[in-house]
């Protein structure tokens, strides 16, 4: 039925099955959109956020998807700047995931702010000292870059490609893509960093506050680093997941292996830096504020040292060690474990840097503030997932996302 649009030489599921899948994701999407509209029309009283939890689930989701979407900029950086050419087989997908993650992040931000119609004030009345301004600028610009990187992919659709203008445009864009990618990497570096800076500059919150270099707290660099380290893991995870779902091999092992190895090194070095940072912070920064490490992990119902262990050891050291060893990378189950743990690790890190910061009392006479999200918050947080699934489904069906798919899955002529 839609075979004219499906890339040549690949096999896709029957159209009704595709539609059913779309419908399923669509229902979840509709639920999310309903919640989103509630938040916009009735206001943020639809959430369980409060004056102690000005930042809550959404901001975590925002930071998490941006970290996970970091695979796009880092693979782009590796391919176009460093020159790891094998990654061209994965870059399309990385760009797609990045596009989904970043558009979701922007949407979440638009729901999260109390006055969405005034959101553009962040540009117009920009305060250049605010990390959030930096985030907004770099995030929107980088989203522009991702769109630019995604457009040629769309233009490669069989039908669109027939139009000479689009064919040429696609060609031209590929030619200058390195420039765009470089700009993207530059922007990414800053917005990933400034997202880290958001927590790090809070000198009123000893749990979040970090010393740093010039105007940038250490979390600035740690966030960039961790996004570059963990983002590719998420890309690998999704490729593996897609391969499982489609029952096809989509990317050659050597490509995955290369990305996994780079990711492993990145995680390893990141977690090393993170441990030093945590140690310095616990021993010097926190002490100077009259507090001790255990003030942040004690005397409440949820946050214990387990979360620090989960983030650094389980979600950091473990996946790093697996990905660094050839054996680990070659074992399907270990690779699965590594990428899942890594994704969890970075998500925990973002959680801690948002929600635990809010939970910890700073005034000695205040108590821990614990919070659970309302269904509207959960629905709007799941919304991007449904949206992502739909976009992946459509893109996978109609666009040549995986250049190696044809070669790996030859169709017997009919």
């Amino acid at each position: 039925m839609d075979s004219a649009f499906i890339p040549e030489g690949v096999k896709r599921c029957p159209f009704p099955q595709f539609l059913a899948g779309l419908g399923l994701a669509g229902v979840v999407l509709a639920w999310g959109i309903f919640a989103m509209l509630l938040c916009w029309l009735k206001g943020l009283n639809q959430t369980n956020m409060n004056d102690s939890y000005g930042f809550a689930l959404w901001i975590w989701a925002d930071l998490a998807v941006i970290a996970l979407g970091g695979g796009a900029f880092f693979s782009g950086f590796l391919k176009y700047i460093v020159g790891k050419d094998e990654l061209k087989n994965i870059i399309n997908f990385a760009v797609l995931i990045g596009f989904i993650c970043y558009s979701s992040a922007l949407l979440i931000l638009a729901i999260d702010i109390g006055q969405p119609l005034r959101g553009w004030f962040i540009f117009w009345h920009a305060n250049v000292h605010s990390m959030l301004t930096e985030v907004a600028f770099c995030l929107s610009c980088y989203f522009g870059v991702l769109t630019i990187e995604y457009i040629p992919l769309i233009l490669e659709n069989r039908q669109i490609d027939k139009i000479p203008f689009f064919h040429n445009l696609s060609h031209n864009m590929h030619e200058v893509m390195a420039v765009f990618a470089a700009t993207g990497a530059f922007l990414s570096f800053f917005h990933q960093g400034s997202l880290g800076g958001i927590a790090g500059v809070l000198f009123g919150r000893p749990f979040a506050y970090r010393e740093g270099l010039l105007v940038w707290p250490w979390t600035f660099f740690l966030f960039t680093w961790s996004a570059a380290a963990y983002g590719p893991c998420f890309t690998i995870f999704l490729i593996k997941l897609l391969e499982k779902i489609t029952g096809k091999k989509l990317v050659k092992d050597n490509v995955i292996d290369l990305l996994a190895k780079i990711s492993g090194w990145m995680i390893f070095t990141y977690i090393f830096a993170k441990i030093i940072d945590t140690w310095y912070w616990a021993v010097v920064t926190v002490q100077s504020k009259g507090q001790t490490l255990m003030d942040f992990y004690d005397d409440n119902m949820f946050y214990g040292l387990w979360i620090l262990v989960a983030e650094i050891v389980v979600g950091g050291i473990f996946p790093a060690l697996i990905l660094l060893t050839k054996k680990g990378r070659n074992s399907a189950s270990l690779l699965w474990a590594a990428v899942i743990l890594a994704c969890l690790g970075v998500c925990i890190n973002r959680w801690v840097m948002v929600l635990q910061v809010m939970a910890i009392p700073v005034l000695p006479f205040e108590d821990w503030a614990l919070y659970y999200p309302s269904w509207q918050e959960i629905a709007t947080t799941i919304l991007p997932v449904a949206y992502g699934v739909i976009l992946v489904m459509i893109s996978y069906r109609y666009l040549p996302i995986f250049p190696q798919e044809k070669e790996l899955n030859p169709i017997e002529s009919h």
């Binding site: 006055q115 119609l117 005034r118 553009w120 139009i163 203008f165």
Partner: protein
């Protein structure tokens, strides 16, 4: 030109690009944000000319001077009046929230009549003729004495007018809520047929021994007391607080004596024992001010040795000795009583035991001490004229024996048709009287109830006719203040704004009813209107009052006019016992007062509700305070629900653990649990008065219940 897909696509993209480059989206974006900055549903208060007018607050018995800020004819803020003898610029949460009462949804906007269970608007003419007819019929039937009235206070012209009307009409059934002043008066021998009121020169005292008095929790004139307590801080004066609970006053005192609840009188006698034993008393002053000292002295020395007192009160003997000595040796020591806000009387025995300390050390009727003052009868009106009807029906016995309001509900419940018509002015008995369930049952038995309330309170809601008074910011009225001051003060409320609704001054309503009754009743009310009645009644005080907004009544009594304190020989158990079976209910429930809770007849406005901590009210639940050990015994946890049972009622409460209360005591916030007023107040928490009932002082008959036995069971 053929419109194919290709063309369509290009057109679409072109259009999008064109629109994006045009000013349109930017203009829309800008307009949208400007719209959010001016949302039509977010009010924009109109600007106008600022003016300030002085008046007097009537929301509690404190009588603070206020300065009202207006923008054109709108009241926007109430502030404390500078240099006012009562509050000198200070103000409390209730006084500050007054604008919300003026403009709030609880106002009764016109006369209302209950028809088939719902209120309907009627005109003033209809309302007045209806009430007049009722009164005339009752009088013709010879049932004048079945008309009763409840007033919030026994003082002031409006209360006096109502009482005057009842008297002229021929009913002896005029009631007011008893107060701690009654206890004080009864512990003195009156030289004339007049009440004795206490005057406290607390600012000049140098040692304050408080028996449960909520000095900064709303006792006396609250703002003035807070100011006095700070004057003590500056002067390094010692404040000793005797109280079972760590109230704000106790927390602020120099020494908190956590006595067992209800044993205050015994502790006072123990302290007296020390003073007597160590001869720290002032014999000359005792002779001058009191009677019956010698026998009393023997009794106290015989029965109240600190060791024994320590056992009963839980305060160790050493402390009793120290306090006794300090009190006896201080230059101007003052002992005061009246639990919490002091709105409920204490037994005469307790009052005597405590005030005896002041008399012993001779700190009576002198600077820094307690004064015995005559009731300030400042209103001078012509004599009431009676017809024979009135004269005879005035001879009937009061429905509630001794004129005690707390006896009224049971009297009504016991006898049919004892009250056929009830007026309620400046009072909310269906909320403030204890054993509220019984009160409401009695209230419902009365065929015709008339409320003068400005607000739809519990009593107004249950009435058959509401004749709404102007709010205190819309009317003239004298505001007599005696509570805790050195000298009585008369304040004046003034109309700050024109009446917003179709309300009428209660004074005017009473006068017009009286005039419509004709005959001797009419001639007892020879005034055109309330304003004239007020002006004439205040005589010499009127001009200074009108000019300054406040006058102080300084009166130095002659020797023979001074009421003399009567030393009461303490019996074996001077403490008031609690209602309830000790074996079935082994906990003691006591109320707790706070400045942020309004427990009087005015319910808390929204601003005030905002200040209530979540350890007292959470959602619609009242939290009771208990000691962690009590909780452990009862298997209760912080924040859990429990059923609180007393002999009068049972309620579901939440538990709050506190180290500020002794074991086996439950502290319950007073002032919540309204069922009327607005959605900001109604249904929030539980009314303490529902859980407790009257316990009479055998000597005076006053309701002196200070708590009740209770049990707590995990819900």
């Amino acid at each position: 030109m053929k419109i194919d897909r290709r063309c369509f696509l290009s057109l679409g993209i072109g259009a999008a690009a064109g629109t994006a480059l045009s000013p349109l989206p930017w203009k829309l974006m800008d307009d949208a944000s400007i719209w959010t900055q001016n949302w039509p549903w977010t009010p924009v208060p109109p600007d106008g000319e600022i003016s300030y007018t002085d008046s007097t607050c009537t929301l509690c018995s404190g009588g603070c001077g206020i300065t009202v800020r207006k923008i054109d004819d709108r009241v926007v803020k109430i502030e404390g009046r500078e240099n006012h003898p009562v509050n000198n610029g200070g103000i409390c949460v209730l006084g500050l929230s007054g604008t919300q009462l003026l403009y709030g949804p609880t106002r009764v906007k016109s006369p209302m009549k209950k028809i088939n269970g719902t209120f309907q608007k009627i005109t003033w003419n209809q309302a007045l003729s209806e009430i007049t007819e009722k009164l005339l019929t009752l009088r013709a039937e010879g049932r004048s004495h079945t008309v009763a009235a409840i007033a919030g206070s026994s003082r002031g012209t409006v209360s006096a007018l109502l009482q005057r009307f009842l008297t002229a009409y021929g009913s002896p059934n005029f009631y007011c809520q008893s107060s701690i002043e009654d206890s004080f008066s009864l512990s003195h021998i009156q030289p004339q047929n007049n009440k004795t009121i206490p005057g406290f020169d607390l600012e000049n005292a140098d040692y304050v021994l408080s028996f449960g008095t909520g000095i900064i929790d709303g006792w006396g004139s609250p703002v003035r007391m807070i100011q006095a307590s700070n004057a003590w801080k500056t002067k390094n004066l010692k404040l000793i607080q005797v109280e079972p609970r760590l109230s704000d006053t106790a927390a602020r005192s120099d020494e908190w004596l956590p006595s067992k609840p209800g044993t205050e009188a015994i502790l006072a006698l123990g302290i007296a024992h020390v003073i007597l034993q160590e001869s720290l008393y002032d014999q000359a002053a005792i002779d001058y001010h009191s009677e019956g000292f010698v026998t009393w002295r023997t009794a106290v020395l015989g029965h109240y040795h600190p060791d024994k007192v320590a056992e009963i009160t839980g305060i160790d003997a050493k402390t009793i000795f120290t306090v006794g000595r300090e009190f006896g040796q201080a230059e101007k020591p003052v002992a005061i009583c009246g639990r919490g806000k002091g709105n409920t009387p204490v037994s005469v025995a307790e009052m005597s035991a405590i005030h005896a300390l002041n008399v012993l050390v001779g700190n009576v009727n002198k600077k820094g001490g307690v004064f015995t003052l005559p009731e300030p009868n400042y209103i001078s009106w012509p004599e009431i004229s009676f017809d024979t009807k009135a004269e005879t029906s005035l001879q009937t016995k009061q429905i509630a024996e001794g004129g005690l309001l707390h006896r009224l509900p049971s009297a009504i419940n016991e006898a049919e048709d004892s009250v056929t018509l009830l007026f309620v002015a400046d009072a909310n008995p269906c909320y403030t009287l204890t054993d509220t369930k019984e009160v409401i049952r009695a209230f419902k038995k009365i065929p015709f109830k008339v409320s003068f309330s400005s607000y739809m309170d519990e009593t107004a809601k249950l009435s058959d006719l509401i004749l709404p008074n102007h709010s205190y910011l819309e009317r003239y009225e004298d505001v007599p203040v005696t509570s805790g001051l050195r000298n009585p003060v008369i304040g004046l409320t003034k109309p700050i704004v024109n009446p917003l609704f179709q309300t009428k001054h209660t004074g005017d309503v009473i006068i017009s009813i009286a005039r419509a009754m004709k005959g001797s009743i009419e001639s007892s009310f020879p005034w055109k209107n309330y304003y004239q009645c007020l002006k004439n009644g205040l005589g010499q005080h009127w001009n200074p009052l009108l000019n300054n907004g406040v006058v102080e009544i300084t009166y130095i009594p002659e020797f023979e006019e001074i009421p003399r304190f009567a030393f009461q020989i303490p019996n074996d158990k001077p403490q008031v016992l609690l209602e309830g079976n000790e074996n079935k209910m082994d906990l003691t429930l006591i109320p707790s007062d706070s400045m942020r809770l309004s427990s009087g007849y005015i319910g808390a406005p929204p601003f005030m509700m905002k200040t209530i901590p979540d350890t007292i009210l959470k959602d619609n639940n009242t939290l009771v305070q208990i000691h962690p050990k009590t909780a452990e015994k009862l298997e209760l946890k912080q924040g859990c629900y429990a059923i609180l049972k007393t002999p009068r009622d049972e309620k579901k409460v939440k538990i709050h653990l506190s180290q500020g209360i002794g074991e086996d005591i439950i502290s319950f916030p007073r002032g919540l649990g309204h069922t009327a007023y607005d959605s900001y107040l109604a249904g929030k928490g539980i009314n303490f008065n529902e859980l407790i009932g009257p316990v009479e002082d055998p000597f005076s008959g006053l309701d002196v219940a200070w708590g009740i036995r209770a049990s707590l069971i995990k819900a």
